[in-house]
Subunit: 281 residues, 2 copies
């Protein structure tokens, strides 16, 4: 879908789930990946224009929306230009030649370890060792060249560090997805864009959300996601993250957005892009 | 507000933020705390009746709603009977007598380390050491009895392990709150209950959320929180977590809930309890 060579930033190191999302989204493109230590650094690099695109996680199917990422996009006045949904499938990665009986210590992010609760119940002989993140755990195992060590990470972390996938899908929850957004300084709205992400703040009175939704309803617009968030410093006032279907050029979308203004709702458009219709099992 | 001695379960170890929420909620009561390694284990113990109450985090102001906890409550048919909002305020905890210049290694959960990004920028001489969780990091420093080590954890982790708070509020985001719910096998609805938590699933057609909200609007009921979540195994269908104001004995609440049935919406009541009106700054 895209042509040319792009510099693309993500948080983490090669083999992280963000890295997988980046490679899947930009499959078939020439990209120059840049890794950053924090979400803030990715957003800042996009804002300054030192990279063309950034890839950040915005929603996880088991832990919910990632508010800090919404805030970074909003505060830096950057745009969502695409999305990619990635399945979180943890694997046991080992130094080449190691077998299950060799493994004594397993490194991963504490959340990665916790997500493989059942696996550790079945293998009490293995010690759970917390580490910075899943991909760095893979890097550690590769550097130590020790067959008694393993990492829990995505399969995509095997190749960059020369490890082998000994077991696949060892997480307890078999249906865990993370949704990533692709961000850019420049707004990019292709003709086939069919999803709009908005942040809406409402006057604090009963029924205000209902009145806002009436404009979507009257214009036949579907809302695919909504999440309310408290406004820092203004207790009990909320704003909303919303995804609706449509293109900004659609008359129905324009009428609905005009309707929001009538309700004293303020909104900021974060992006209008092509939905990733990866079926979540 | 409660009398007697209760067994109360939480996830983590003494000094965790869940432990703080438990102590704050049950202040003035005799409680017998029990710690568990996972959210699932807390919910299971409540369901079986081996503990009377459980304390679980359900929403964080920077990362959003914790879907797995909503799911645990729903699937185990247990009830929310209260809530407690706790400020996440990370401190630098040290072995007694240590000063800032002594510190070489700082242990915490990777998220705790990341949340103190600015602190580490100002102290490049300190090594960030990932650990299982914040309270266990405090336990480690206490066990090692080494003045060159520190932990990042809440102030509540100092006392149980005999550590000192060397610096307070070192997290970059000064306004980070976690909302905990108190769960019980038995429904408990005091007369002063003023908040209701529901899970609502809607027929998949445009405008169905709007029609559901119309019943709250018509009955003058305020919605203080809403979050949509995909339904696993049914791609692109959503259910909603909602908090509304009121008591189940209110006629307005009863009328609104009857209205949901008219819209083919199914709902499950998770609890009706007293809102924690801690002002979030």
């Amino acid at each position: 879908m895209l042509n040319g060579t792009f510099t693309v930033g993500y948080q983490g190191v090669p083999g992280a789930y963000s890295y997988l999302a980046m490679n899947q989204y930009f499959a078939g493109c020439e990209i120059e990946p840049r890794h950053f230590t924090s979400f803030d650094d990715v957003a800042e690099a996009v804002r300054q224009g030192s990279i063309q695109y950034g890839v950040l996680p915005i929603e996880n199917s088991s832990t919910g929306g990632i508010t800090t990422v919404y805030d970074l996009i909003r505060h830096n006045h950057i745009n969502i230009v695409g999305e990619k949904i990635v399945k979180v499938e943890h694997c046991l990665l080992v130094y080449p030649g190691a077998v299950l009986e060799d493994i004594k210590e397993v490194y991963s992010h504490p959340q990665g370890l916790a997500q493989c609760h059942e696996f550790f119940k079945a293998h009490p002989e293995m010690k759970e060792c917390p580490y910075t993140n899943t991909a760095k755990a893979a890097q550690l195992v590769a550097e130590k060249k020790d067959r008694s060590l393993a990492a829990i990470a995505g399969a995509q972390a095997a190749e960059p560090y020369g490890l082998e996938v000994l077991m696949r899908g060892i997480q307890s929850n078999k249906s865990n997805y993370t949704r990533f957004v692709i961000i850019s300084r420049q707004a990019e709205i292709p003709p086939e864009a069919n999803k709009i992400t908005l942040v809406v703040s409402l006057p604090h009175k009963p029924g205000s959300l209902y009145h806002v939704l009436s404009h979507f309803e009257q214009n036949g617009i579907n809302m695919t996601n909504i999440e309310s968030r408290p406004i820092p410093g203004r207790p009990w006032e909320y704003f909303f993250h919303m995804d609706i279907t449509g293109h900004l050029n659609d008359e129905a979308v324009q009428d609905a957005l005009a309707g929001l203004k009538q309700e004293d709702a303020r909104y900021k458009l974060l992006g209008n892009y092509v939905a990733d219709d990866t079926a979540r099992e």
